[in-house]
Amino acid sequence: MTKLQIEEVETRPEKTILQRFFRFVKKNPAGFVGMILVFLAVGSALFAPWIVSFDPSKASLTSRLDPPFWADPSGESTFFLGADQLGRDLFSRIIYGARISLMVGFFGVLISLVIGTIMGLISGFFGKWLDDLIMRVADIQLAFPFILFAIVIMSVLGTGVWKIIIILGITYWVGFARLIRGQVISLKEQEFVHAAKAIGGTNFTIIRKHILPNVMSSILVLGTMYIAEFILLEASLTFLGLGVDPTIPSWGGMLADSRNYITSAWWTSVFPGIAIMLTVLGFNLLGDWLRDKYDPNMKM
């Protein structure tokens, strides 16, 4: 009898990148929209000087509150999105503003992520008194009013973008810690973690090689959502008078400082508002998409 080699045939042809891309867009329109928005924001932040020709901090009191040129009946205005209360070009400020907003979002999240992850890992993995201790510290952090915390830190360390980043980072570690703790508690009982112990792994290797990579996706998901939240918090801090240096363009600052002009010069608050909204929306959609992608229940 002849042995016959029967080929396993792929019934599905290999896809080109473009096809795969369209498939992705079709299957995850929300994720795609999110990605585009995030790209736009990050792009503005990175390439601001190439995008705009105006100096964002160039004040000119004579063009104070000039409307966008297309909405200016007198036709004098030369500003694309109008000018702000110091006659600075709103468009370039919005483009440059992406820098502070994203910086606050990104580094703030980075700090809280690092602290929270370490705390969550320790708390979930070792349990017992360490867990109790860390969770109580988390309770304390939660019960302590954020604004007061901000004022205390600022009066000790001074003000500035980095101070805001530190404050947000320190305040929001709790979210990460709790999330990760919960996951570690269930991961720790997973067979592959037992297996890691059985093959002679130390606690440190187990955490590093087996636990951490498996919580990474949730960290990422929460991270994107916190970036969005931090962008808004920077705005709120400015509203309460604890914001960044007003000469540095930031969306939150622009929005907070222009709130009295909402009725008289709508563009001063509407455009930064839209910028914030789109970016926040973008990060949230991205986070949602990541969540769906990494949600084990969604896997087929």
Binding site: M1, L4, I6, E8, V9, T11
Partner: protein
């Protein structure tokens, strides 16, 4: 003459991705007779559960009914609306799932879950429904049924939960009971209890059972007729004794041979090399060919289901009349 209760006609179920249809269950046909137990066996992932779920109209999202039909008496499931399905489910066809631990809703009492079913199909009041539920629990042999009625699923053991599931499935006297691996998650001794119970109930209520399993022992124990599935297709259909005595398809043979025999000491078990192909990458021709020890040229073409003696069927060129010609060439 046995009456045919249900007939599955070239049922094809699959997924659709980017306009490309992939069949998970590939055009299967079989009949279910009144009062008989039909076994469906096959390796994990071969489409047993999908077949069962199609009979209930409960295909998971993403998996679609692609073609074919199912007839139950004069009903044609193919063009059923949601509402039509609701009348069939539970009343005419009932189902027990594989996982006794997660098949019951954790937040409702056992009683509530049985009563829900009864109220949905029978025109009786709550009190009567409760009495009926109690009766059902007694029927499936649950000790202290009055209390259990008001307990939550987590308070019961796996075996008891599976009995509750059976009670639910039976509560409206269905004509057909589909049991998708009803004992896989249970212990041997409990499995024996449940199988015993199903046999008893079948006799009492005269239903037909479709029993899905990959345990050939269970099949031997319970079934009258067996369908062997491989990679979404029926590859053999036989009377139970015929299957065990003269398995025809090389896959069935391999399957039977790889069971350790309790009565014999073997150094090594025989095994089928390789694994079941995934739905997306089926071999052309005979789907078992890559693993088959009897493979030959003909196998590059898909074999039809060939009827052999006793109305048994097998999907293999070896049993084709024309086979000899090919082999002699």
């Amino acid at each position: 003459m046995v009456r045919t209760l249900m007939e599955v006609d070239k049922l094809q179920v699959g997924i659709q991705d980017d306009g490309i249809k992939t069949a998970i269950v590939n055009g299967i046909s079989f009949q279910l007779n009144e009062g008989e137990t039909l076994g469906i066996v096959g390796e994990s992932g071969c489409g047993k559960s999908m077949t069962a779920l199609s009979l209930m109209g409960l295909l998971p999202p993403g998996v679609e009914w692609q073609s074919g039909d199912i007839h139950l008496n004069d009903l044609h499931f193919k063009d059923f609306s949601k509402k039509d399905w609701r009348k069939v489910r539970g009343k005419k066809v009932s189902m027990i799932f594989q996982e006794p631990m997660s098949s019951l809703n954790p937040v409702y009492t056992v009683g509530k879950q049985i009563i829900e079913m009864i109220l949905n199909h029978e025109n009786i009041d709550k009190k009567q429904a409760r009495a009926r539920a109690l009766e059902m629990l007694q029927l499936v042999g649950i000790p202290r049924p009055e209390q259990v009625l008001d307990e939550y699923p987590h308070q019961l053991s796996g075996g008891m939960r599976q009995r509750v599931m059976i009670a639910i499935a039976m509560s409206c006297n269905p004509e057909i009971l589909i049991a998708d691996e009803p004992t896989t998650a249970l212990d041997v001794t409990i499995q024996a209890q449940i199988l015993e119970l199903m046999k008893k109930l079948q006799q009492q209520l005269n239903m037909s059972i479709v029993l899905i399993t990959h345990d050939l022992g269970v099949v031997a124990e319970m079934c009258d007729r067996v369908i062997v599935m491989y990679a979404g297709e029926i590859i053999e259909e036989a009377k139970i004794v015929d299957l065990f005595d003269q398995p025809k398809h090389p896959y069935t043979k391999g399957l039977l041979a790889s069971l350790p025999d309790i009565n014999e000491q073997q150094e090594y078990l025989s095994s089928i090399p390789g694994m079941v192909p995934a739905p997306g990458s089926m071999p052309s021709g005979c789907r078992f060919a890559p693993r088959c020890s009897m493979v030959h040229e003909r196998c590059t073409q898909s074999p039809p289901l060939i009827e052999t003696e006793n109305k048994n069927k097998v999907r293999c060129w070896l049993y084709d009349e024309a086979k000899l010609e090919v082999m002699t060439k």
